[in-house]
Amino acid sequence: MSKKLVLEESAGFNQKVIEYVHRASATGLYEIRGMGAKRQLPSFDDLVFLAGSASRYPLEGYREKCTTTTVLGTRFAKKPIELAIPITVAGMSFGALSGRVKEALGRAATEMGTSTTTGDGGMTPEERQSSKTLVYQCLPSRYGFNPDDLRKADAIELVIGQGAKPGGGGMLLGQKVTKRVAGMRTLPVGVDQRSACRHPDWTGPDDLAIKVAELREITDWEKPIYIKVGATRTFNDVKLAVHAGADVIVVDGMQGGTAATQTVFIEHIGIPTLAALRQAVDALEDMNMRGKVQLIVSGGIRTGADVAKALAMGADAVAIGQGVLLSLGCNSSSYVQNGQHIDATADYNALGTAPGFCHHCQTGKCPVGVTTQDEILEQRLEPLVGAKRLKNYLKTLNMELTTVARACGKSNVHHLEKEDLVALTLEAAAMAKIPLAGTNWIPGVSPF
């Protein structure tokens, strides 16, 4: 009689951990990858809406008006920006993305009346031209940062940190530093572009206030200034950003994506978006600044439900990165060329992955032409096709957002409120300070 094979996987040393130890032992290098945290985290999925019934009445889902207009930068800027929807495109660099992708983002955002954002490496003419409202990032590296583009921007985002890697600098591996990227960043072609984790010309919060004032002076106090923080000590960071004079604060939770970062950062540094958003709102309320300083939240926002929940918790808008890339075809098994769907599975396999599992943006060999600088691969994303897909995606999110808002009886999406939400798990209830469904219990706040 043959012996029965019993395979018992260790919880601690599971397949993934074994692979990690083997890889580390073979290379002596930590892993660098793209996209965001893959681990299970408390998230907006752990919240649900109560909506209207007898005690509150809903609005007619298809007929009654529900406003989505979003104004950002009302505190100090002479020219705040007005968006048609509270869903913006997060900062992603030309370098990480191709010029064609940047163009697609600009086109879609413009058609939807929202903003896109530059990234490390500066502003490309393609994105300035195609984006009606463009937010210009001021990052620690200052790659490609210059006063002409600053004046061309509609808003300025001073980036202190990113949700995927708070405390860590950026990275663009040499394979993506092509002639054009290198030229924009004043670097030799093919070197690894490292970005510092701290700004070169200021350190603490008091210096930050002086830096913000300088950017305002240079732009004659016209443009809204955002301050973006990666979610860690969010309560304190938001307070310091308000103190520094921000018009808008962007909080990027740990589910936020990246083009290339150490896996140890992506999975182990920062706090979930859910917890960060609640801390940010607490900080603004504590300073009596809600409504005066606007709050944008990012990091794993995927659906209209996520947007609605973020707004109900107190955000004024959301920013989306990974969802935007997915809408362009990231992790799809095919790309579209001349109207034909062309299978890309073999190219995923060559990277050691498969559609649906890819996080290989750092390689520059994106099978669908999204995060690449390769002249052949980048052709796989046609700007007009990409723009149409992204427009559809943003439109869908906005429709979901308004339909949820109407169900909650709101004629303006910004009227969604915490009282519209309950939590499904204890963790989410504690982090979001929202009662556990069917109870009034908020752990640490109110008794069961």
Binding site: T27, G28, L29, I32, S141, R142, F145, N146, P147, D148, L150, L173, G174, R185, T186, L187, P188, G190, V191, D192, R194, A196, P200, D201, W202, D207, I210, K211, A213, E214, E217, I218, T219, D220, W221
Partner: protein, 227 residues
């Protein structure tokens, strides 16, 4: 000569005048009185004009300067001429931290000493320092040249890319991947040209060349903690 007095107008009014009214006026030279350490004086200039700041400036004097020639008759705080694109900024006294940080072009001349992180992330600017520079100067310096007539502190040129530094005095320590290299005729000529521009009299033969060893250009296991 046009005079603008910071006891009578705010720095915001000053800068708005410099950005919006000055360009069409044909003014070639102006002075700013009573700066009293105010921040962001003449930040964001985009006009060819000579500006004399009669006293001490705060942070970011001449920040992001294009075209203007600014002289500070005193000391300055952090980030003088940060991210400068073109033109000249001259500080007759001392400069605090991050002088010329991420500068893309133009010339920054400091007649006295500078504090920490001079020339950090520089991207093409020329910096000439009459005195000494503080620790961690030239961190991640990408392009441009820095001439230091005095001494350099700890960690000079850490993780530098293609910038080149010329140091006349002692270097307390070099940062990761920075190395001393032999001077060539082109280096002597460059030092002479930069000294002339600054109006400093030294023999170029007294200077050492510091540049990146390029060992950290691509990620590898041997770079270890230094990468």
């Amino acid at each position: 000569m046009e005079s603008l007095d910071l006891h009578k107008i705010t720095v915001r009014e000053l800068n708005q005048f410099l950005h919006k009214e000055l360009p069409g006026k044909g003014v070639k030279k102006l002075e700013i009185l009573n700066p009293d350490g105010v921040h962001s004086i003449a930040a964001g200039m985009d006009t060819e004009v000579d500006i004399d700041i009669q006293g001490h400036g705060g942070y970011y004097v001449g920040g992001m300067n294009k075209h203007a020639n600014i002289t500070v008759h005193g000391n300055v705080g952090w980030g003088v001429a940060e991210n400068m694109m073109s033109g000249t900024v001259r500080v007759k006294g001392f400069a605090s931290s991050a002088a010329g940080a991420s500068g893309h072009g133009g010339t920054l001349i400091i007649e006295g000493d500078t504090s920490l992180r001079c020339g950090i992330s520089m991207k093409g600017i020329d910096i000439v320092v009459g005195g000494s520079i503080g620790n961690f100067s030239g961190f991640m310096a990408q392009a441009g040249r820095m001439v230091i007539c005095g001494d350099a502190g700890d960690g000079l040129g850490d993780s530098m890319y293609e910038a080149v530094f010329y140091v006349r005095g002692n270097i307390k320590s070099l940062g990761a991947d920075a190395q001393i290299e032999p001077m060539t005729d082109a280096d002597y000529a460059a030092v002479q040209e930069l000294l002339n521009r600054a109006g400093f009299k030294h023999d170029p033969k007294e200077f050492k060349r510091v540049a990146g060893a390029k060992k950290l250009y691509n990620w590898n296991a041997d770079a270890n903690q230094e990468y």
